[in-house]
Each structure stands twice: as structure tokens, then as C-alpha cells.
């Protein structure tokens, strides 16, 4: 009988292969060693990337998932290996990124005894996973992993964690993988209600100043085509959230810009002037709404959303359409009357011109000596491929890169939106690049954030992933410094950094690098970087005390967006 039996660790790997996992980001250790031993036998069927820290592994899995639309897979040992995943789990949950994380655990008989590297990762990760489970015997492994993949990728995607005790990995069991297609407590198929569509269509048809806000739901729902068709027919101006960027090409005639604290002037101002607001796959984050008490009070709000818990969570809507926006948008497009809104659209363009004169000109064609972050991104646009992926960290550079990057394709925006995780960019860029070496992946990062996960340069070296890293160095934790300048009387409390010679670090990792501090060298440096075959590290020394505008200060209304 034993011939038919395989080790639990082999079951883990074979189930991952059955679930079409192509790549694992991970880090070995005692309690997960049997799985690593099994990986040795299957290296021709499934790749593994050894990061330099478990946080790097999970952010890489996130980057991979965001670009590929597939489930990111992450492997870590028990104890510190598992706790190092927590930030990434929280990040993936709030940004709806599908992940399956597998952690090793001490043998079942040692559970609860404070054994070496034992930690209650199931308890710890409960608030930051969509679902989690501890597997204590070999028979449960394949069903648990199959269920985990189903949960991670279906409905509103999210991270799932499976904690597998060491005895389950080393015991022998039969391998009978059955894919999970659903179960009774978890309904994933939501039929869009035709009456909801009819009512939404009537509201939209009656509108004089309708306005669409779109978020990552369009991308996650694979609804880009349906969304574009809806806009083409209705002529409604549309603005993007941070994570929605890329869902609609920015050269689309209805595209009017970006929402929120550091978004564009027109989209924020006119939120409080539209008469019907159509929110598609977005969740009215506080960074989008500003003061909710003064948010779009004049408008009738229609919310197209998959997750019932998001409806009326922060902003009360007048009408909701529950379901995947791929379905609801298609039905809605059929139900609405074709229209155009030239006068209303012109209002957006007027404010856009105002923003151009007051902010954009300074940012992309500066007259100051110091380089601006905006002109760097503007130059990247001149040379980048249409499907280049932009990966950013968190802070000023993130907002500037988002503002100026020319998004043309879906799944080209990878950033830590909801959680705001510094240190995200470098490993996420590695993960995004591992999906496809032929695609341009541009990682824009600040001098603060890069030092939180700088060790992943080692992983880039080892994998030869051709990531193009642009370090925008202002020797400050820039966004915090900006707030200190604006709201704390310029008391720069612990925001200035004494930095190392970054290019030497990159060189030590064998990554070609260059440092630019003069405007005349910028264009050529960016071109050199983008055509270079292999990873590249470009440090750009930028103006120390530049600020990001427009800005809606905390507690302000969207119409109080400031241009300076």
C-alpha cells in the first residue's frame, strides 16, 4: 500500500502544480523543510524564488498577482517566518490581492507548548486574511490548498493562509486532488438584478451632470472592455482611484484624471457639482472622499459593487447594483440612452488647464535648479513601452509617479494603496518582473522606503530580473516632511536621512547603476536604463523640500483641494 502513498510535503507541491501555480516566493526554515525537500524534485514543474526576507517574499507574490491576475504563492517557515508575512497579508487584504501563503508549523503534538519557532499564526493572521486554516494531518492538505486557491481568487479576491504542521508534511498519505468549485457558506455567483439595472439606467438617463468614479474593481472583474463601452455610449466623464489607474487608457476622451488627496483638481472639485455619481468597483476610501459629511451631498449616488459589505459603508448611496461590474456594466450599457455631455466635460477641461498652469508646469518643466520628481516620471513616459508596469512604494514619489505616469494598459499599476506599506516597491517589482521578463517593470521608490527592503537587491541579482529601479532621493521622508511643513510649523522631527552611497550598494549586488543630479543628464540616463538588458539602478537626486500638490488636507472637503 505504501507505494501509492506519498509524503504530505509532496502533496503540498503537487497540489500547487494542479492549481497552476508557476512560481513560489519563499524562504526556508525548520518547520517547512519537508516542503523544500519536495520542491527539489519538482523544480522543472514549479519555480521558486528565494527572497532575502519573508516580507520580501509576500510583497513579491503580491506584485506577481497584481500584474498576472493569478494567485500569488508564498512559502515561509513557522515562528518568525510566519510573523514576517503579516504586513503583506494586511496589505493584500485591504487591496484585494489574491494570495495563498503556506507556513510550516511545529508538529501537532507540540502545539501550544511554546516549542521552538512556534507561534499562533492562525490566530495572528485572522484579522488580515480572507480565510485561514491550520492543517494537522496529511489527509487535509490537498483539500485545504484547493479550497484556499478557490477562496483567494473568487469573489472579491484576498489573501489566504494555510498553516501546516510538520508531522502532516512528513506523514504519508494518498494524493487525490479534487478542485474546489464552491461550498455552501460562500456564495460567489451574484446574479445582477434587472430591476436594479433599470433603475440605475433611469437615474443615469435623467442626469445632466453625471460623473463616473472607477476603482480596481474594474481590473479585478476583468471589465475593462465593458467599462470602456459604457463610457463610449454615455459620454460620461470618468476619474480613477489610485488602484483603478490603468483600467481605462488615459488618452480615452472621457478620462478626466485622478481622485483623492493628491489626485487632480477637476475630479475632486467637480465631485461636489455632479448630479449623478456612478461609482464602479471602488470603495470610497477616506483618501478619496476627504470629509464624508461634505462629500457629493448634492448628487444621487449609484454604487456598482461586488462586495455587499462595501455598500453604504462610508458613503450612503441612493441606489446600488450588486454584482461583478463586468456583468452590471454590460447590462447597464444596453439599458442607457446614448448621450454626450460636452458642456459638462468642458468644466473638467477648464479646471485641468488651471491645474496645468498652477502645478503641472512647475512639476514637469521646472525652472528651479533642483530636479523634480515630476520631470523624472515625465521623461520615463517619453521612453517607456505602452504596457510598462509602474511599481511604486509609499510617499511623495508614489503620488507624483501616479500623477504623471501615462497609464495605457490594465494591470500596469502596482502600489500599496490601502495599507500604505513602505518597503513594498522593490520586492513587488521583482515579483511583477518574474511573471514576464519581456515586460518593462519600472520601480519608482524613495530613499526612505527602499531602505526598508533593500536586501531584495540580492534577489534581483540572483534571478537577474531586469527591473528598472528609479530611486528618487531627497534625503527626507518626504511626505512626512511635507506634512510637518504644512501642519506642524516646519518642525522636521526625525525625517531627515543620512543616506549611504546607494549606487555603490547596487554595484555591490552587481546591478548596473548610475546617479544623476543634473537636469542635462536626465534624459539620457532614463533612456540608457530602459534599453539596458538586465536590472538597472538609477538614483536621481531631487529637490529636497518639494511638495506634492494638489492636496486635500485631512478633514477638508474635496472642493477644498489646494493647488499650493
Amino acid at each position: 500500500m505504501k507505494d501509492l502513498m506519498i509524503r504530505g510535503a509532496d502533496i503540498v507541491v503537487r497540489t500547487l502544480i494542479e492549481e497552476n501555480a508557476e512560481i513560489i516566493f519563499g524562504y526556508p526554515g525548520g518547520a517547512i523543510m519537508p516542503v523544500y525537500d519536495a520542491l527539489y524534485d519538482y523544480h522543472d514543474q514549479i519555480k521558486h524564488v528565494l527572497t532575502r526576507h519573508e516580507q520580501g517574499a509576500i510583497h513579491a507574490a503580491q506584485g506577481y498577482a497584481r500584474v498576472s491576475g493569478k494567485v500569488g504563492v508564498c512559502l515561509a517557515t513557522s515562528g518568525p517566518g510566519a510573523t514576517n508575512l503579516i504586513t503583506g497579508l494586511a496589505d493584500a487584504l485591504i487591496d484585494s490581492t489574491p494570495l495563498v501563503c503556506i507556513t510550516g508549523q511545529v508538529a501537532a503534538h507540540l502545539l501550544g507548548t511554546d516549542a521552538f519557532q512556534e507561534t499562533d499564526v492562525v490566530g495572528m493572521s485572522m484579522p488580515c486574511t480572507k480565510w485561514n486554516i491550520q492543517v494537522r494531518n496529511v489527509e487535509e492538505i490537498a483539500p485545504a490548498i484547493a479550497k484556499a486557491f478557490f477562496i483567494a481568487r473568487s469573489g472579491r479576491p484576498g489573501p489566504v493562509l494555510i498553516d501546516i504542521t510538520k508531522n502532516a508534511q512528513t506523514d504519508f498519505g494518498e494524493f487525490n486532488y479534487v478542485p474546489c468549485l464552491g461550498f455552501r457558506s460562500y456564495q460567489t455567483k451574484i446574479e445582477v438584478n434587472k430591476n436594479d439595472i433599470q433603475k440605475a439606467a433611469e437615474l443615469i438617463d435623467s442626469a445632466e451632470r453625471p460623473y463616473v468614479l472607477f476603482g480596481q474593481g474594474v481590473v479585478l472583474g476583468k471589465a475593462e472592455t465593458e467599462f470602456k463601452a459604457f463610457l463610449d455610449k454615455t459620454g460620461i466623464p470618468a476619474a480613477s482611484t489610485l488602484l483603478g489607474s490603468g483600467a481605462l487608457p488615459q488618452d480615452h476622451p472621457n478620462y478626466v484624471g485622478k481622485l483623492g488627496m493628491h489626485g487632480n483638481y477637476a475630479p475632486n472639485m467637480l465631485t461636489n457639482q455632479c448630479d449623478v455619481l456612478i461609482a464602479v468597483g471602488m470603495r470610497f476610501d477616506d483618501r478619496v472622499t476627504g470629509d464624508v459629511k461634505r462629500y457629493a451631498k448634492q448628487a444621487k449616488i449609484i454604487h456598482l459593487e461586488l462586495d455587499p459589505a462595501e455598500i453604504n459603508k462610508t458613503v450612503k448611496c441612493h441606489h446600488s447594483v450588486l454584482g461583478n461590474c463586468k456583468d452590471s456594466l454590460a447590462l447597464l450599457t444596453d439599458a442607457v440612452t446614448a448621450k454626450s455631455h460636452p458642456v459638462w466635460m468642458e468644466r473638467f477641461r477648464e479646471f485641468e488647464r488651471e491645474e496645468n498652469a498652477a502645478v503641472v508646469q512647475h512639476d514637469i518643466t521646472p525652472t528651479k535648479v533642483g530636479l523634480t520628481m515630476g520631470e523624472v516620471i515625465h521623461q520615463v513616459n517619453q521612453y517607456k513601452a505602452d504596457d510598462a508596469v509602474l511599481v511604486t512604494d509609499v510617499g511623495q514619489h508614489q503620488m507624483i509617479a501616479w500623477r504623471y505616469f501615462n497609464y495605457k494598459k490594465s494591470r500596469t499599476q502596482v502600489t500599496s494603496g490601502g495599507l500604505g506599506t513602505m518597503g513594498f516597491a522593490l520586492p513587488a517589482a521583482l515579483g511583477a518582473q518574474m511573471f514576464d521578463f519581456s515586460r518593462q517593470v519600472v520601480c519608482v521608490v524613495g530613499d526612505g522606503g527602499i531602505q526598508m527592503t533593500i536586501q531584495e537587491l540580492g534577489t534581483i541579482m540572483q534571478t537577474k530580473a531586469p527591473v528598472k529601479i528609479i530611486l528618487l532621493n531627497n534625503n527626507y521622508l518626504g511626505m512626512v516632511r511635507q506634512w510637518q511643513q504644512m501642519f506642524f510649523d516646519k518642525r522636521y522631527s526625525f525625517t531627515e536621512l543620512d543616506n549611504p552611497e546607494f549606487v555603490k550598494i547596487a554595484e555591490a549586488y552587481g546591478i548596473k547603476s548610475q546617479k544623476v543630479s543634473d537636469r542635462s543628464d536626465l534624459n539620457e540616463a532614463i533612456e540608457d536604463m530602459l534599453i539596458h538588458d538586465g536590472p538597472y539602478f538609477l538614483e536621481v537626486v531631487v529637490e529636497k523640500e518639494d511638495n506634492v500638490f494638489p492636496m486635500i488636507a485631512t478633514g477638508c472637503s474635496v472642493e477644498e483641494v489646494r493647488l499650493s
Binding site: V122, G123, M126, P127, K130, W131, N132, Q134, I151, R184, S185, Y186, D307, P308, A309, N312, K313
Partner: protein, 166 residues
């Protein structure tokens, strides 16, 4: 702020109670009482949570609870929408058992459910106000120990959980 009863119909999955309670913890909301038991359908558990909050908050709580993968259904009722009962046990020293106490037991419809050489245990089922009233009286009779359950409740609405369990 009002008192609400939240019903959760759930799979019997390890950790499910934890997943539910952290939804309250995160918002700084206190659970007044909680009971969990197997429902009349095998493998399906029923959790009853009593909470004092605004209706808006309760709606958010219920939405978040329903989002938990192993939860089948969650809903809420005001006190008027449910029939509920709590059970209380009172441990009294035998030495205090006299005619006065006997009268009190009769008046409150309490029962003596255990009698030991040194103490007796009284039981009273009812709403919290009733069990509390008896508690206050028995404090004068050398009450040794007191325990009260959370609320068990059924909805007045005519529907069954079978419709959610397919």
C-alpha cells in the same frame, strides 16, 4: 443606542468565534452577551450575540460578519423582534433557608434544582430584569455564588434557517 440581537448561522469551523469577535473588537464595541450552540441541523452552529449600539453600526457589523467565509447567514433584530430567555443560578447556604425565602422563591417562580447538606441551588429563567431582581433580594440571604447565561433567542419572523443551508 439600542439593544440588538444578532444571529449568526455558521459552519462549525475552528476559530469562527474568534473571527466574529474581532469584528467587534476592531470597532471598540462591547459584546453584552454571547451564546453558541449546535443548531437543529447537524454541523451548523448558531451564535446569538447581544449588543448595544446604533442601528447603523449593527448593520455594518452584520455585513462584516456575513463576509466571513464560513458564515452562512447573519441577521439582526431589535428586542421586539425576538423571543428570548436567560437562565440564572443562585447558590444559597442552607442555614438561610427559612419561611421568608420560601415565599420569595414562590413569588419569583424560581426552582430549587439541587440541595446539598450545606447549600441549595435556585434556578430562574427569564429576562435580565427578572433574574436581576431576584439577585438583589438574595444578596440579603448570604448568596454564595451567582451565574447568568447569555441570551438564547428565536426570531418572531416566520422563516427557518433551512432556506440558507443548501
Amino acid at each position: 443606542m439600542k439593544r440588538y440581537t444578532i444571529f449568526v448561522i455558521t459552519e462549525n469551523f475552528i476559530g469562527i468565534l474568534n473571527r466574529i469577535t474581532i469584528i467587534f473588537t476592531r470597532r471598540g464595541i462591547n459584546i453584552d452577551a454571547l451564546t453558541a450552540s449546535e443548531s437543529r441541523i447537524e454541523g451548523i452552529h448558531r451564535i446569538t450575540i447581544e449588543v448595544t449600539a446604533s442601528e447603523d453600526t449593527v448593520i455594518q457589523l452584520v455585513n462584516q460578519i456575513e463576509k466571513i467565509i464560513d458564515v452562512i447567514k447573519a441577521f439582526y433584530h431589535e428586542d421586539e423582534g425576538v423571543v428570548y430567555q436567560e437562565i440564572a443560578l443562585y447558590k444559597i447556604p442552607v442555614s438561610k433557608l427559612d419561611g421568608g425565602l420560601e415565599k420569595i422563591i414562590r413569588q419569583h417562580n424560581a426552582k430549587i434544582i439541587a440541595a446539598e447538606p450545606e447549600f441549595v441551588v435556585l434556578e430562574l429563567s427569564g429576562h435580565k430584569e427578572q433574574t436581576q431582581e431576584l439577585l438583589e433580594i438574595l444578596k440579603g440571604y448570604g448568596l454564595l455564588e451567582f451565574a447568568r447565561s447569555g441570551r438564547v433567542a428565536v426570531a418572531k419572523r416566520m422563516h427557518t434557517i433551512d432556506s440558507y443551508v443548501k
